[in-house]
Amino acid sequence: MEYLLAIVLPVLLGLVGVVLSYNRFVAQLASIDATWANIEGELQRRHDLVPNLVETVQGYARHEQRVLEQVTEARAQAIAAVPSTVPIEQQARAEDALTQGLTSLLAVPESYPELKSDAVFRDLQRQLVETEDRIAAARRLYNLEVASYERRRRSVPSNVVAGVIGFEARRMFEIRDPAAEHSPHVPR
């Protein structure tokens, strides 16, 4: 009986450990997916704001056609990179291109004071910056979740569970911080 216990008890404890570790991996993956959904939601909101911004700028600055086309094209590429089949790095580069285009677009009002003081444009700019703040926060949360997951996936003993069950590596989402580039200038 004692021999049986000496064999069964460690096996049972090991099984419990495996189940706990597995469940924690599943919870972490669910959390990663949830934070990624947040990022996608905010990116979608940014994509939706772009046509309104382009239209508003076009009303005042028809001569800036090149910038407007660049932004429209970057938006189209960013929308095309949203599906989950597209690698995360490709999506990040598409978003960076859109950020760059928007930076050029938001520089246009410097030459058009009427546009700069337009209430609709100011409101859209505010909404854009707020959306980009939320993208930045969601991206950091996502990356923190991925970092925690990866740390567990590689450390002993949870790496055994990850290897046996086949939990795959997740990539971080690294983009330029658009909010830092698009936030209004603070006069000193």
Partner: protein
């Protein structure tokens, strides 16, 4: 014939000395060797009197120091309610203001308006520095059945700022426990900086707001400069607790710490990233045209022309 004056004084002195000796003998129990308890009582009384005098002196010195500190800032004064908030509204609201087991409250509070930089804009806020005290019960069991209950008085140094925005979900950044510092029992929200995670335990229901608040710059600043301090946000109040590293030796008592803690508070607010303020809906105040040197001042009304001689 009246005795000479010097003789009368001498006689009076002798009588006084005689009376004092009688009094001392009465207090100490006479000259039969049982004077020790009386002497002890006398010494205890003297010690109490000295302690009382010293305490009174310290209180007066502290009050003077607080007054001197208040005079350095326009509109500041001694306060009973820091930032207009009663102690009952502060108790248990922050980790720095615990209820304790018996008495609690605010003391040595000073405060008034101060200019803080929020999102690059200078804003006037109500700021206060005070000491939060509370009493903790301590039960000492003797060898018998009797348990002796005493109360320890504990204090916490607090600087508080009334922000122009409301944090609907509280955030607390408190020093990590000893076990947490070595990575054994780490709780709370983990962030990118390992040195920050080692030093602080971050709690907040809105995780997105927490990461917005704690950007890389603020994490670095807190880990480097605010090691053993607590930072808490609730509604419109920002509380910074813990001892500062610097003291103003020209002041006395707890007032020595007030300049440093006030400086730390304004520096902390200045380093909170703009996205955090935007997330809370902070609106920059409309620019004051009078303050802008580029804007010409409005023309003054022309003075009335001097009356002509024929108008008189």
């Amino acid at each position: 014939m009246a005795p000479p004056v010097s003789g009368a004084v001498e006689a009076g002195s002798v009588a006084l000395l005689d009376r004092a000796t009688h009094l001392l003998l009465a207090v100490t129990g006479g000259d039969d060797g049982s004077w020790l308890p009386g002497l002890m009582v006398g010494l205890f009384g003297v010690a109490m009197a000295i302690a009382w005098t010293l305490q009174r002196h310290q209180r007066r010195e502290l009050r003077d120091a607080l007054n001197r500190f208040v005079e350095r800032h326009d509109g500041w004064h001694l306060q009973a309610w820091p930032c207009g908030v009663h102690a009952n509204q502060l108790v248990s609201r922050f980790e720095a203001t615990p209820r304790g087991d018996r008495r609690y409250g605010v003391e040595s509070a000073v405060g008034g308006p101060a200019e803080v930089e929020i999102s690059g804009t200078t804003v006037r806020c109500q700021v206060a520095c005070f000491v939060w005290f509370h009493e903790r019960r301590r039960t000492q069991r003797s060898r018998g059945r009797h348990a002796r209950r005493t109360y320890d008085r504990r204090t916490e140094l607090v600087a508080m700022c009334q922000l122009p925005v409301h944090t609907h979900r509280a955030v607390s950044i408190l020093p990590e426990s000893a076990l947490g510092r070595v990575g054994l029992t780490r709780s709370g929200q983990q962030l990118e900086s390992e040195s920050f995670n080692r030093r602080f335990r971050v709690e907040g229901r809105d995780r997105a707001l927490v990461v917005t608040l704690l950007d890389a710059g603020l994490q670095e600043l807190l880990a480097a400069e605010y090691g053993a301090r607590g930072i808490e946000l609730s509604d419109d109040l920002l509380v910074l607790s813990g001892e500062p590293t610097h003291r103003d030796r020209s002041l006395a008592g707890v007032a020595q710490t007030y300049p440093a803690i006030l400086q730390d508070l304004t520096r902390l607010v200045r380093n909170i990233p703009p996205p955090f303020w935007r997330a809370l809906g902070f609106q920059r105040p409309a620019p004051d045209p009078a303050a802008d040197p580029a804007t010409p001042p409005p023309p003054r009304p022309a003075p009335p022309p001097p009356p002509r001689p024929e108008d008189r």
